[in-house]
């Protein structure tokens, strides 16, 4: 935890009386300081809504946390925050101290910050435009006492609007994005925009996850492709981005999410969990290759 030194305090006081640009710089510095203590930052994005970004985020966090890593989730879906519900910590009031706002702590010690904690009730919508949302996201990073983290997962709303843009702006050294899609052609068409978005903002694409990929009948064992199949693989081939794997449809995923315990924590022997373990392995591979490359770069440039 960082304590504000008297010197810093005086700078903050000056900033309020000075021009807004000084205040802005201060906030930016604060954000940078917080980010320096987080080893890996990964955002989860999608083209279309309802494809399972939050499910993927929550389970990625659980997978890493169950291995003993320090994990945080920044729920940047300001209008439809669902991470707290999935981790069984919805509507928890957050406390604050000298170091900033303390994130809520969920199962396996996962730290979470979400708009859900700031809204007065379940039904209360967030009626905000772009600039306010950008400020909120900046504060979610800079004013929160994240502490030392091994991984920060950022759950973004669908599409390429204010929230994803703000995140890409504030976290330029992001490790990469995981793009979630479903097998239908409809999703396929829109997810391409997300791939281009990541490429244009200069963030590496870790790969594509195809969620809701087929349903195996529990009675006869026959596989039914409810939303067609192979959409994720087609996009990965067409746009030459890595394919991380597919997650089958399983009613237990919904039951687990609603009860606040993602399947990667509840039971790692389920077929969905097994599929997910393979995806996690590919993400780890990407991160270790990336780390190796950046270390090499540092060696070249003294």
């Amino acid at each position: 935890m960082t304590k504000t030194s008297p010197k810093q305090e005086s700078i903050t006081n000056q900033a309020t009386s000075c021009s807004t640009s000084t205040a802005q710089k201060e906030q930016e510095q604060k954000t940078q300081l917080k980010l320096e203590k987080i080893k890996h930052k990964i955002a989860i994005i999608s083209g279309k809504g309802g494809v399972g970004k939050s499910t993927v985020t929550a389970n990625l966090a659980m997978a890493y946390a169950s291995e003993g890593h320090k994990v945080g989730i920044l729920d940047a879906d300001l209008h439809g925050p669902c991470i707290p519900k999935m981790l069984g910590i919805e509507r928890q009031p957050l406390k604050s101290g000298i170091a900033g706002i303390f994130p809520a702590v969920g199962k396996l010690g996962i730290k979470v910050v979400s708009m859900d904690f700031f809204l007065p009730s379940d039904e209360a919508p967030l009626i905000w435009r772009g600039p306010l949302k950008m400020r909120a996201i900046e504060q979610f990073i800079g004013d929160v006492a994240w502490g030392e983290l091994d991984y920060l997962f950022i759950d973004l709303p669908p599409g390429t609007g204010d929230e994803p843009l703000s995140i890409m702006h504030f976290i330029p050294d992001m490790d990469g994005v995981v793009i979630v899609t479903m097998p239908s052609e409809l999703s396929e068409a829109i997810v391409k925009k997300s791939v281009t978005f990541a490429k244009e903002t200069g963030i590496p694409v870790i790969g594509i996850v195809e969620n809701l990929s087929g349903y195996v009948c529990p009675d006869c064992g026959k596989k039914v492709d409810i939303f067609k199949s192979g959409g994720g693989k087609r996009i990965s081939d067409a746009l030459s981005v890595p394919y991380l794997g597919s997650i089958p449809i399983d009613p237990r995923v919904c039951i687990d999410s609603d009860s606040g315990l993602p399947f990667m924590a509840a039971n790692q022997s389920l077929p969905v969990a097994k599929a997910f373990i393979e995806i996690v392995a590919k993400i780890k591979e990407f991160l270790s290759v990336n780390q190796f490359l950046s270390n090499q770069e540092k060696k070249v440039k003294p």
Partner: protein, 123 residues
């Protein structure tokens, strides 16, 4: 018998690092992996969760407990009951038991966190 603190009631559930406030105690026989999942009534307790947890698993005949962290009270209670304490473990219940059987963990001789550590994590 071994006790593992877990966040759900099966062998493939993740280990819960908070001993006193874990969701379930999985009491199992490492020879045949036969297990019994006991819900922890101390999850929401304001205090004394560690002592109560130690009592519960001692009653079930556990000789070893594998978890993430133990606080000072739980440590005292477990030591008094002659239960071996293994901390710093992570993974699924099945994985940590396998590692334990291979002798990859060592016994803890002191509490690993301060009191009330698992009750929200904020000080």
């Amino acid at each position: 018998m071994i006790c593992v603190s877990a966040i759900a009631n099966n062998l493939d559930a993740a280990l819960d690092p908070r001993f006193g406030r874990c969701a379930y105690f999985i009491i199992l026989n490492p020879e045949n992996m036969q297990f019994n999942a006991i819900p922890n009534s101390g999850v929401e307790a304001t205090g004394g969760a560690g002592i109560q947890a130690a009592q519960t698993i001692a009653d079930k005949g556990a000789k070893t407990v594998i978890t993430g962290n133990v606080g000072p009270n739980a440590f005292k209670a477990l030591s008094a009951a002659g239960i071996e304490i293994v901390t710093g473990a992570s993974g699924t219940v099945r994985e940590v038991v396998e590692k334990y059987k291979k002798g990859q963990y060592c016994k803890t001789t002191a509490p690993t966190v301060s009191g009330h550590h698992g009750s929200g994590g904020r000080q």
